[in-house]
């Protein structure tokens, strides 16, 4: 087996694994019980998208895709930070006592 053939097989297997993980994280986004679960799943979806971009950069032989990957990582980080601030502002219970929210607390189980 030549080295080029090995690289082709590795690219195909990596694409298949990334597609399966993309699907799993999409399931978590759909069923995620709280908003924080969905934000976390979107963050990991961005990292899987970076992996896709890296594989496509190697497969097409056009390495400038690494700039696209860096930009996507920056956008994903900023989106996660903004959504975390949004969760912090939105879901604070009445009276803003952390321990007093016992009856309203979610367990996080689906």
């Amino acid at each position: 087996m030549t080295a080029e053939r090995f690289l082709e097989i590795c690219i195909l297997m990596s694409l298949a694994l990334l597609a399966v993980s993309f699907l799993m994280i999409t399931v978590r986004i759909v069923i995620g019980p709280t908003l924080a679960d969905r934000v976390l799943a979107l963050d990991s979806l961005v990292s899987i998208g970076i992996g896709f971009i890296a594989i496509i950069a190697i497969k097409t032989g056009y390495p400038l895709y690494v700039d696209v990957a860096i930009a996507l990582g920056l956008v994903g980080f900023l989106a996660t930070v903004a959504l975390a601030r949004f969760i912090l502002r939105r879901e604070r219970p009445e009276g803003s006592e952390i321990a007093a929210a016992g009856k309203d607390r979610k367990t996080g189980t689906p």
């Binding site: 690289l7 978590r28 690494v66 990957a69 980080f77 604070r92 321990a99 929210a101 996080g108």
Partner: protein, 130 residues
């Protein structure tokens, strides 16, 4: 030779990515899911980014890829910590029903600051309320 190293890096990175995805799908709690997503996911995408300069073999691409990996390694813990802090303050209980909550009473509910000891006047007032 470079093709073999590139393929092995891609395979290891995608295995880490699918490990992160299995963790995100199967773990019972937001905080345990965050372990999988922020550690294994970052390592997977970083390894796959490091495969680009090995395949391309140009110094500018290598510099940009290494800068991108360093950027991801710096920002993933920050975003994970912000998300966990927001989820905790908004009332999501860690521990998945085990009742262990080491941060209980340590966050100032008005300012959001974290104190190192739980026995503050505010937390004792909370105990009286409960």
């Amino acid at each position: 030779m470079m093709d073999i190293v590139t393929g092995i890096l891609l395979l290891i990175g995608s295995v880490f990515a699918i490990a992160a995805a299995i963790g995100v799908l199967r773990f019972p709690d937001l905080y345990t899911r965050m372990h999988a997503a922020s550690k294994a996911g970052t390592l997977g995408s970083g390894l796959m980014l490091l495969a680009i300069p090995i395949a391309a073999f140009q110094p500018d691409i290598a510099l940009r890829a290494v800068a991108g990996v360093v950027f991801f390694l710096l920002t993933a813990p920050v975003s994970a910590h912000l998300l966990a802090r927001a989820a905790y303050i908004s009332g999501l209980v860690p521990g998945h029903g085990s009742g262990i909550d080491d941060l209980k009473g340590r966050y100032d509910p008005n300012t959001g600051n974290l104190s190192s000891h739980a026995e503050s006047p505010r937390s004792s007032r909370k105990k009286v309320q409960n």
